[in-house]
Symmetry: C2
Subunit: 347 residues, 2 copies
């Protein structure tokens, strides 16, 4: 038993009393200003703190100091490997900077997101990092921006991930460029007849990737791909591919050769749908995705994708958050095409 039975509701005063000094001295001993404290006393204080299992009340510190050691992260959903990888990066970066991260999930609802930001603001975090859920044109958009602007004026910093058009520092994933190069690479492999499974146009990431892809095709002298719209999820990808398959002619002469889904979970759902429809992904129909999530290499055939350094994105986000960057600062994140077996040379 390490001499404490009070259950550590120990307060700084308790520590001070136990050490035979004033609260001020105890505070100084515990924090940076230890220079101005007698060695003997600092030892006694540390000892007392340990004995009492003292842990400073962060809320009290926050109030006294006027700032917290917290960053807030809002994601669309933790389930999704895209976001959980980013979250991992944020968590790592936060740990390195000795910060605690509070996380909230918006489920892609702009209203929910707005509400989250509001309550988050109450925590007075050092920074708020927004990723994913932003949807163009939603009625709540202005309200969100206003909320964030107010937060910033109050001293907090805001970082967006992949929402370059908003007036905040941004980690910008090169979605359009990656998709464009993917299109080129696929054309290079010999593909000519494309379909794209994309999400609603309001979803910025989907739109950027789609447009980049089309640009790539156009530059190669090809026309617009066949388009199917679906939910931005695995289920969406599955449903879209099922429809494509039932429409028929996929493995035929002159039929669609390859389908690009705007993210990997959709692409993987699509592969399964094709398989369920009796088609062999890679052989009857090629498939490509975007993100290069971990499972891309574990599906069969391995999925061609555009690699995004998701963890690094998260780490950049907290760096950016801590750097007092000006609102227009943009940290670009490059993406690279990774060709795999799901898109073999056709025929």
């Amino acid at each position: 038993m390490s001499g404490m039975q009070d259950g550590s509701k120990a307060t700084l005063r308790d520590v001070a009393r136990a050490a035979g000094v004033s609260a001020a001295t105890a505070s100084r001993a515990l924090n940076g200003s230890a220079r101005n404290v007698r060695q003997e006393n600092i030892a006694r204080v540390l000892e007392a703190a340990a004995a009492l299992n003292y842990e400073p009340h962060l809320s009290a510190q926050a109030i006294a100091r006027g700032s917290t050691s917290t960053v807030a992260l809002v994601v669309s959903g933790v389930d999704d490997p895209y976001f959980s990888s980013i979250a991992a990066g944020v968590a790592a970066g936060a740990e390195a900077a000795d910060l605690t991260v509070t996380m909230a999930v918006s489920d892609r609802s702009p209203e929910r997101e707005l509400q989250i930001v509001r309550t988050l603001r109450g925590h007075r975090p050092r920074a708020i990092i927004l990723t994913g859920s932003r949807i163009d044109g939603a009625g709540t958009r202005d309200a969100l921006v206003e909320e964030l602007a107010a937060y910033r004026t109050a001293g907090g910093s805001v970082v967006m991930i992949s929402q370059p058009e908003l007036p905040f520092p941004t980690v910008a994933i090169d979605n359009a460029g990656g998709a464009r190069r993917l299109a080129q690479a696929l054309v290079g492999r010999g593909y000519r007849r494309f379909a794209v499974i994309r999400a609603a146009d309001r979803i910025r990431t989907s739109r950027d990737r789609y447009q980049g892809f089309v640009t790539g095709l156009r530059e190669a002298g090809l026309r617009e791909p066949f388009v199917v719209e679906a939910e931005f999820t695995r289920a969406g990808g599955y449903a879209a591919a099922r429809d494509l398959a039932s429409r028929g002619g996929l493995a035929d002469e002159g039929g669609l050769e390859v389908v690009f889904a705007v993210n990997d979970v959709m692409a993987i759902g699509a592969m399964t749908a094709f398989r369920d429809a009796g088609l062999v992904p890679g052989a009857d129909v090629a498939v490509a995705g975007f993100d290069d999530i971990a499972s891309a290499v574990d599906v069969a055939p391995a999925l061609t994708s555009v690699s995004v350094p998701l963890r690094a994105v998260g780490e950049h986000a907290i760096e950016l958050a801590l750097s007092e960057a000006d609102p227009t600062r943009v940290v670009p994140v490059a993406t690279t095409v990774t060709l795999r077996e799901s898109t073999p040379p056709p025929r």
Copy 2:
């Protein structure tokens, strides 16, 4: 422009002043005790608060009230679908209970975990939910328990996920039972020669699943399976399966028929390793996993596994945390075998 240019560092006193009332009244108007405030005043206060874009300082509230609206979640790693699904459940439950969740990742390091709990304690969360990283026999174990006990005596509640032997309320996933039934089901399908890829014995989850599986085999009159030990990750599963494959004889008469990996990410890594070694999973060697993560249905062949309602686990955890349960309370979570194509009837 909604009439506020000060950047919302607005404090309660500001609101009160703007509304022409005292801080006390403003506080009452904003919170529950609104009953004892004139309708007119409560309206003025709300109006002022909105105009000033006021958001209560949660730290200040925490100090004044003596309690926060936060729960802390510590996981081994957000990347892992196992944990991210649990985290999703926790986030959902927290939202429902109007709580904010702060998340920390331990990377399976007991030291790091201990340190996390310490700093978390400083936040004075309503509850601390621990999942995954606990490792038996580590030197830090007692320290961790002591830390958590102190936290609890100070009024916080602790919830463990799948660490039934610790003196705290626990959400107990039926690992042993699920593995045992899986073994039975595989024997029922006709399999007789088993290998198991498991993690180090200190990892409780791995050990429970392994022992349950062996029990199932034993009950069927079969002897111990061939065992390979590996990291508790996708890479570990891959490496172990590579070794198994290079050892040879996998697809032969009398060779191993099926390998059970103690979680899905290992199993999926193993499938890829087999494929890379020229073996066809499901045909040359059957594979089974545990957890039934989302991608289990998207690998080919679809992975036989033991389904665990991970989101529900997370939700149960916060329920438990909020219920002032006694330290011995255990909420059991059932697991069910899900047979898929990765374990077809042999031969």
